[in-house]
Symmetry: C2
Subunit: 163 residues, 2 copies
Amino acid sequence: MPKRADLSDTFCPVGRSAELLGDRAVLLILRDLFFGRRRFEAIAVNTGLGPQLVSARLKLLESEGVVERHAYQERPQRHEYRLTDKGKDLFGVLYAMRGWAERWAYEDGETGGGPAMRYIHRACGTDVGTALVCPGCGAALGYGDLKGEPSPALKAEQAARSG
Amino acid sequence: MPKRADLSDTFCPVGRSAELLGDRAVLLILRDLFFGRRRFEAIAVNTGLGPQLVSARLKLLESEGVVERHAYQERPQRHEYRLTDKGKDLFGVLYAMRGWAERWAYEDGETGGGPAMRYIHRACGTDVGTALVCPGCGAALGYGDLKGEPSPALKAEQAARSG
DNA sequence: CACAGTAACTATGATAATCATAGTGACAAG
DNA sequence: CTTGTCACTATGATTATCATAGTTACTGTG
């Protein structure tokens, strides 16, 4: 790709995330990290990405503070990659991607009846399903149920672009 | 880019979503559509993407059933793009991206105190904040609070790759 | 001690996507 | 009949990605 416009200075939070997450390789690597794969080779094999891409993206994720490179043995030097708190907090995004795909990306019967990935809340035992719920009343949330209010800075930025 | 490996036949739901969502331009266009921008020019200007890219991605989104092209006047022919139900259901993903960015992507004070984007649940008036909550008990969910169980098909697929 | 094996990469060249810029077609307004 | 708007398409330079092969630094086997 050519030099793309930088999104890290936009006031839009989706834009800021998109800078990092709007990349197939990043998403697949994060998925594997959440799945417990920490080694370079394991990630490269499971994602099907070439080692050069995996290397580049892990460096990017490290520079963004999303993963940490950690030596798990000295001789020979071997490293593994671990999600930082900032990285672990991306779970919500992958979780939402999973939810959407479960609802829309499979043919009937393709998964053998159930979801491709089931999640149980350890604390209460609930199968969390795929819905997004309101922290106030517990109802399912969709686009249209929420009223969005951009901050003054974000509003100004958008107005500047269209003017 | 070269011909990338196709992810649409993996059993992993994150992989299936990543095929579409692992793209900066797609994410930015979706953001604008959720924001109410429906016109080609408005999207191109606000995202900063070139018309060629916007055109290509809108065609892709249309072919995936995420947006619909709709004529809003006849003479001259003018079109707008609307999210389908499948498209509107992607809201959860952008919502999660926003949540993460609000928590991690801004310097202190950069937003002037509040979040860059505030969401209120119309039905109950709650400011939903940025957390992901359990539909069973209402507690905040993070990575580690959930126990994931892949379906047999997904497990088999991953085993095949590493074997 | 030679040789295969493993982990974590780096190097190379072909291919393809992206960007910036300019241009097109259809019409409306002045 | 020139300018303006909207929704694009065309062109060429730049750069990212892929597939494949190679490198470094060891360990374990015979």
